[in-house]
C-alpha cells in the first residue's frame, strides 16, 4: 500500500475485507469525522465513540459502496446518519449518556483538545476560551440540517454541491440553509467578533 492510494482504491480493498486499507482510511479521515461529530453533539468522549462506530459502519457497508461516489461524500453521509441516530436516541432517553451504555473503555480513549501554544496571558486565555465555547454552542444550537451545512462548509470546505448530496437536498436549498444559518450565527455571535 502506498500513501498515494486514492480513497476509492482503498475502499475497493475494504470491500474485499482488507482491514489494512480500512486502517489507512481511518488515519486519513478520523480527525474530520471526530470533529464533525464533536461540533454537532459537543462531547469529546462520545464523539470518539461515535466516530469509531462510523468507521465500523464504513466497513460493514463497504459492499454497498459504488466507486462512482466520492468517498468523503459517502463518509459524511454515514457520519450524519450516526449523529441523527444519536440525537434520536438522546431524545428518547434524555437522561442517558452514551457512556452509560458502553463497556468501560481505555482511559486514553477520550478525544484530546488541541493545546493552544500561542496564548500565555491568563486573562487573554480566558477570553479566548470563552469565545471558543460560545462558537461551539452557537453551531450546536443551529437546527438540523443548518448545523450540518455549516460544519461541512466552514470546517470541511465542501462545495454547495457536495453538501447538497450529503443532505439529500437541492443546491438551492443548501444555499438557503447556509444563508439562514449565517444570519443566525451573526445574531448568536454578536459581541464576540
Amino acid at each position: 500500500m502506498t500513501s498515494s492510494d486514492s480513497d476509492v482504491a482503498l475502499m475497493l480493498r475494504v470491500r474485499e475485507g482488507d482491514t489494512d486499507a480500512l486502517r489507512e482510511l481511518i488515519e486519513r479521515h478520523q480527525r474530520t469525522v471526530i470533529n464533525t461529530i464533536h461540533r454537532a453533539i459537543g462531547d469529546a468522549s462520545e464523539a470518539e465513540d461515535l466516530t469509531q462506530r462510523v468507521f465500523v459502519q464504513v466497513y460493514r457497508s463497504a459492499k454497498r459502496y459504488k466507486p462512482t461516489a466520492k468517498f468523503t461524500t459517502w463518509l459524511f453521509t454515514i457520519t450524519r446518519n450516526t449523529i441523527l441516530n444519536e440525537h434520536r436516541r438522546r431524545s428518547r432517553h434524555p437522561s442517558e449518556s452514551l457512556d452509560a451504555l458502553q463497556e468501560p473503555r481505555d482511559s486514553e480513549s477520550a478525544g484530546w483538545q488541541l493545546p493552544d501554544t500561542t496564548m500565555r496571558d491568563p486573562a487573554q486565555e480566558a477570553v479566548e476560551r470563552e469565545l471558543r465555547e460560545r462558537i461551539k454552542e452557537a453551531v450546536r444550537e443551529l437546527p438540523e440540517p443548518q448545523r450540518t451545512a455549516v460544519i461541512l462548509c466552514r470546517y470541511e470546505g465542501l462545495s454547495y454541491e457536495e453538501i447538497a448530496e450529503v443532505l439529500g437536498c437541492s443546491v438551492s436549498a443548501t444555499k438557503s440553509l447556509l444563508h439562514r444559518a449565517r444570519l443566525a450565527l451573526k445574531d448568536k455571535l454578536r459581541g464576540y467578533c
Partner: protein
Amino acid sequence: MSCQTVREQFDHRLDGRLSGHEQAAFEVHLAGCADCRREWEAYASAWQVLARDEGIEPSFGFAERTLRRLNEPRVDIRQWWWRPSIRWATLATTVVALAVTARVGHERMLNKRHAELYARVQQGEYLEDYDVIANLDQLKGGNHE
C-alpha cells in the same frame, strides 16, 4: 446596485463565488453605504470567527481501537424487535389484523349479494320487499341461489 442586491450577494462573496466584475461592484456599494457595510461586517466576521474553533484530535491508538470493534455484535433492528415481548405483540397484532380483514371481506361479500338481490327484486324477479329479503343471506339456508 441596490442594498437588497448587495445583501443577496453576501453568501457568494463569502464563498468566493462572485466574478471580478461583481466583486468590484459589491465593494463600491459597501464603500458608499454604511448600513450595508455594517451588515456585511457582522455577517462576515461571524462566519470567519468560527475558524477559532480548531477542533479536537482523536486520542492515541484510535485506529487500532476502532479495528478491534469490527467484530462487535451488531446493534441492529432485529435485536430489539425480536425480543419475546415484541414478538408476541407482533403475533397478536397480526392475528387481530387478519380477523379484521376477514370480517371486512365478509361484510363486503354480503353487501354485494344484497345489491344483487336488490337488483333482482327491482327487476320483479322476487315479489318480497327488499327489507324482508335484505338479511336473507344471514339466515342459514336463506340463500335462494
